[in-house]
Assembly symmetry: C2
Homo-oligomer: 363 residues x 2
């Protein structure tokens, strides 16, 4: 039996009970295909298989490597590359997964937002596309007034337009939920209008209105004539969470930690072997329960204890909660799944029951 | 012949001429063994071999994996793990490289800063240690007044004390060089005093006073009775540089870029496929020449052009300079070495002449 104390550090662990709780809470609000879980948060087919097991069998990906890896893992029934790609080699590699044998159930849909991305997709053998619409965040997405024109262009190239997506990423972290609800509704009004225009250019298979993320997962009110039409949400972070999303009023709890070990203790601070190469830092410093994080170096966190609590000893293990899950996981090879994590006077306990390789890293 | 435009994006490239220039400038000031290049910056034995070829044959490492990988690559003549490790498995794995056959030239020295780290090193078969002294930065290192006591303890355990190290990391980025010089001298005064006390407890093989980094590489004035005694500098970032160090008055230039490709262009911004999973972000946003970086997402940078310059086109390649090299490289599998990089009206040109695997990642 492997315990947390047997794992070499730094390493990622997932709290099995918290993970299961997060997955159940999401599935209750967005069951089955109404959620299209985003793979980019964890880049792990093993984790994705857990979500498929509770009914979420359509997935969102950010990179061709994620798409191809998911298909190879038998999770490719309905994969959306929710990102523009202009690399013909990778587009062809995805298209090659779409052979015509009747036993092949792989379906890959690629986001397009320009004539260039549409043309490349068509030339490389991609059969299904989604019109990526800019609903307010300055990133990818065609402007709403050009969406139907792009759909018509894609149809003229012989590709199947399955619908629209519009990621309101600029609204994910609006702290006031009423304000967030109002803004999300405005963004979705745009997207739904685009969908109707796009569908007029496309066939009966044009049915998808895809949007949202962890921060907005429950705002697509089924009693609202606009919001009810958003038929899939692209949330990914909810399963593991991070301290950035954790600061919002969401029902999900942090289930991912980096385990470090104390390597040095001075009079007023301690140092663990977790640092910039094991933590995504774009959302700021990580959190250690009961401690003040002073700063992070390449391989270290220097911290002190709050409320007069004593410093740990050299060799003690410490749980670190990253501020942003996605780029943290991208630095690791494996997540260890732990049953019954407890932090007590004798340190951190818990049994390692599984390992999920982070097997879809890189591009 | 492979050109930059043939590389899938995002990917790391190294400007061969700039790299060579940086290496030559450093070797002129700190030749041969007076520099102990730090591997943590790039985690690549291929890059390390370039430094060995110009005479720097002793190396600094931050992790056991770096130490073991360097030894396996035939670069293990004198490896310093300049970091505390309390993992017996990894300490033993390093010790196993020190077999007694006459053909084995591997030497591994491990930093210690406590009785615990000293005891573990000795128990696991490590033969050589360095006393890591805290010279002012709140991180690892024994306090100066306890250094000789720790040395005596290590000697009592039968390990060989080769000297002291003291990383004045808090002084690396002091912008005013006169102020930096004064502060570095004070820190080194502490370290040199510790060395004399440590040497009194140790044998004739106690000769090393190791300190510094890229930001202080030329401050160990050979005419100064204290500074001249620092006989090795642990610089690593100088070879590739980053925009953080680039802001200081150092002679080294940025030689590492992340190459991205434009995937989306709107009326006032463009988006490339470089983001939080291909960039270390702890020192802030990366830099794109001639552009204003708006923000970075997991897989994207949104930017606009300065001075009324036109936005690029979808499919154009863009060079991104990371703010911090070390955690950026830790996200990539390979650095591509490029000859004669030029940015002109027809885009970025340059011939890919080599690939250096980032083969010492993780722990």
């Amino acid at each position: 039996m492997t315990r947390i104390s047997d794992l070499p550090t730094p390493t990622l662990i997932v709290d099995r009970q918290k993970f299961d709780g997060n997955v159940a809470k999401m599935a209750a609000v967005r069951p089955g295909r109404t959620l299209r879980p985003h793979i980019k948060a964890h880049k792990s087919t093993a984790l994705a298989a857990q979500l498929a097991a509770v009914g979420h069998t359509a997935f969102t990906c950010a990179t061709p490597r994620e798409v191809i890896g998911m298909a190879h893992a038998g999770l490719g029934t309905d994969l959306l590359l929710a990102n523009e790609t202009v690399d013909p080699t990778r587009l062809r590699a995805m298209a090659q997964l779409l052979d015509t044998s009747s036993s092949n159930t792989t379906r890959i849909t690629v986001a397009i937002d320009s004539e260039t991305t549409a043309t490349l997709a068509a030339e490389c053998g991609i059969k299904d596309v989604l019109i990526d619409v800019n609903v307010g965040m300055p990133r990818c997405g065609v402007s709403p007034e050009r969406a139907s024109e792009l759909a018509a262009f894609a149809v003229s190239l012989g590709v199947n337009v399955r619908g629209v997506m519009g990621y309101e990423g600029h609204l994910m972290a609006v702290a006031n939920r009423d304000e967030q609800r109002t803004k999300v509704r405005s963004a979705m009004e745009l997207l739904v209008k685009c969908f109707d225009e796009v569908r007029a250019q496309s066939g009966d298979d044009c049915t998808i209105i895809s949007a949202g993320g962890t921060g907005t997962f429950d705002l697509y009110d089924p009693s609202d004539p606009v919001l009810a039409r958003v038929n899939e949400v692209q949330a990914g972070s909810y399963a593991l969470m991070d301290s950035h999303y954790g600061a919002l009023e969401l029902p999900f709890v942090q289930a991912l930690y980096v385990v470090g070990i104390v390597i040095s203790v001075s009079d007023s601070w301690a140092v663990i072997d977790v640092g910039l190469k094991s933590l995504g830092m774009d959302h700021g410093n990580p959190t250690i329960a009961g401690a003040s994080v002073w700063f992070c170096s390449d391989e270290h966190i220097t911290f002190s204890m709050k409320d007069g609590q004593p410093l740990p000893y050299v060799g003690d293990r410490v749980l670190v909660q990253p501020a942003h899950v996605d780029p943290t996981i991208a630095l690791h090879e494996t997540m260890h799944i732990v049953d019954q994590i407890e932090t007590g006077e004798k340190g951190i306990s818990g049994t390692v029951i599984d390992a999920w390789p982070v097997n879809l890293r890189h591009w």
